[in-house]
Symmetry: C4
Subunit: 205 residues, 4 copies
């Protein structure tokens, strides 16, 4: 049903999502022998890595939901043109950049002097990614790329609204980092929890 | 026969399994020039890395069997809903986290003061992963997601029992780390050897 | 329509492209605590990493367009023989080597004494990759590997010309590094912007 | 034509091959500022990395041909059972371990005191991998796993002979490391050049 072009675009995108999500673990540093000598036992050394675990779980969840949304988005798209390939490339650039702000966040989450900036940096990346989803969807809906037939106008409007909400919400959550970083991070996560719940996958037979 | 949704979920999961299993090698550190100067020759320096090889082989084998089990599980599942996507995401989170406890284990296996804790940490990750397999399977059997038709009740019960056994066995093996870490590791591996042998792949024509 | 051989070659190539493009982020170093103590705040430390971001964005874009071109190229090829498998292997070697010259470029871009050499090194890799695209295409057009039927001679000539242009352009852009490195880098990027725009994807029904 | 089981096994294996081959570049270290201060210019610093390039090119070529051979092997196999899944897992273990002996080789190739040992270590990994190919093929030919129909006995014998030759040749090449490491490495590479040339891909319509 899908064009072969879409198939390979999805395969490539799946690859990038799968790699970006699995690379996240590389940012969690193993306690070294000298780390161990400074604390009482391995559990303390592992517990001190808590900002890394927070970063890992948050980004893993967010990239996972982004993947599911990407998947759902391309259920509606029948053909892609060069312009959409490029827009999708910027989307993937945001996704595969995410391990970096995640590592910056983990490195600074326990440091009151820098954690606000690190959370803003993390948030800006999520704003960028949300923006690219809107561009890809906009090109799918109004551009040369064609949608699958038999798609209801209601469904299209719902998706448009959802992508707009995620973009707006990411901006607001990023701004709240200046108030409280935990509030900001919970807001970012909530957007993806909501987004994961709101849209049932289109069923096919 | 499978839904297109299942196809892309399986492709994404395959990607995560394949990357997690291949990243394991990055945790084995190459002997540096200064390492070499402290021991008599390269073979000694390589031999001193034995905990890394133990960790690599154990985790490679476990992730490989997990992949085969994931594969077998989704042979029975016809459609996935959002809830199963999320459960599968937590399953993949456990799988892609495994290189970290593997590295912690390798780093501490030769250290009597910390190796018990490292083995427990490794075991807890395996308990978590076993738990997620049970949740995914439970959602497949009783949730909204639908199974493939023509599946015998006997087969379903056998799989349920197997996943329960792996979860229970992982808990017991993790507890045995306090008695003897080698016993604990052998028990973990045995669970996956048994699991790899017990279930014949469903044949299709 | 495509041979199963081409399918698996494309899947393997997609994997290598997807991994090479996602590994680029690993070359961006997280500011350490000691980096932070030397500058005023996290933003300064992050801003000092600008050569890494330039390298990341440039190489991400170039590898992404290379992927799209590889995709387009194999739309025309019906069967592959061993010779083409080997030529494609050298192509992938160039692609997966690219994170290294990217890191070298990022490391030296702010250093007037070495940045010309780093840009030439980066350019030479792009020349090598452009060369391998020409070889693969040449083997597809004149070798044992067979093209898809119904391909117009005009289309073939256009592709040949485009690959020749990219090779020639990469050589010229590499040479311009001795005049001005920014000019050289902009020329390299322009070649891939042009290449991304010039060829519409072959549509199939 | 292929069983769905084979399809996912091949996809997973392709993933591991693609990742192992792309991870090779991570072992090439970027010259640091202090490296640069010790030699006259970037080119010298890059040239000093020659053992890394030798390792990268050799292992990239070898893993690439291994992938093509794996591909060709599974063209003949119609169904896989659990035993073959396990044998294939050990094959993939060898493949994904290869970046480690490659890095060890690169680290020691310029050091007369340790390079023989490093070459033997590299060779032993190739012997192990060649062994696993023989086991997988043996299980395909005589085990429960079934071959594709319409396969000529002559073709089967040719493949058996080729896998035997690669195993024997790897053993001999590894032994020659004690005489001359370059001879040993050229012999290893030659085996894969020959292997890449000898077998035409089975054509399908």
């Amino acid at each position: 049903m899908s064009d072969s072009t879409t198939v390979r675009l999805e395969a490539f995108s799946d690859g990038v999502f799968a790699i970006a999500i699995t690379l996240l673990v590389l940012e969690i540093k193993v306690p070294s022998a000298s780390d161990l000598s400074q604390v009482s036992g391995l559990w303390h050394a592992l517990a001190e890595r808590w900002p890394s675990y927070v970063g890992f779980v948050a980004s893993f969840f967010i990239v996972g939901v982004m993947w599911a949304n990407h998947h759902a988005l391309f259920e509606y798209i029948r053909r892609v043109d060069r312009r959409m390939l490029l827009a999708n490339l910027f989307l993937l650039m945001g996704v595969s950049f995410l391990p970096y702000p995640t590592a910056v966040l983990a490195q600074n989450l326990a440091n009151p002097a820098t954690r606000t900036d690190a959370t803003v940096f993390y948030g800006v990346t999520l704003v960028f990614t949300a923006l690219t989803y809107n561009v890809v969807w906009w090109l799918g809906r109004y551009g040369q790329a064609r949608l699958e037939p038999h798609v209801h106008e209601t469904g299209l409007r719902m998706i448009t609204r959802r992508y707009n909400m995620t973009l707006l919400g990411s901006l607001v959550a990023t701004g709240f980092a200046f108030v409280n970083i935990w509030l900001s991070l919970v807001m970012h996560l909530s957007l993806y929890v909501l987004s994961a719940r709101s849209e049932p996958l289109k069923e096919r037979d």
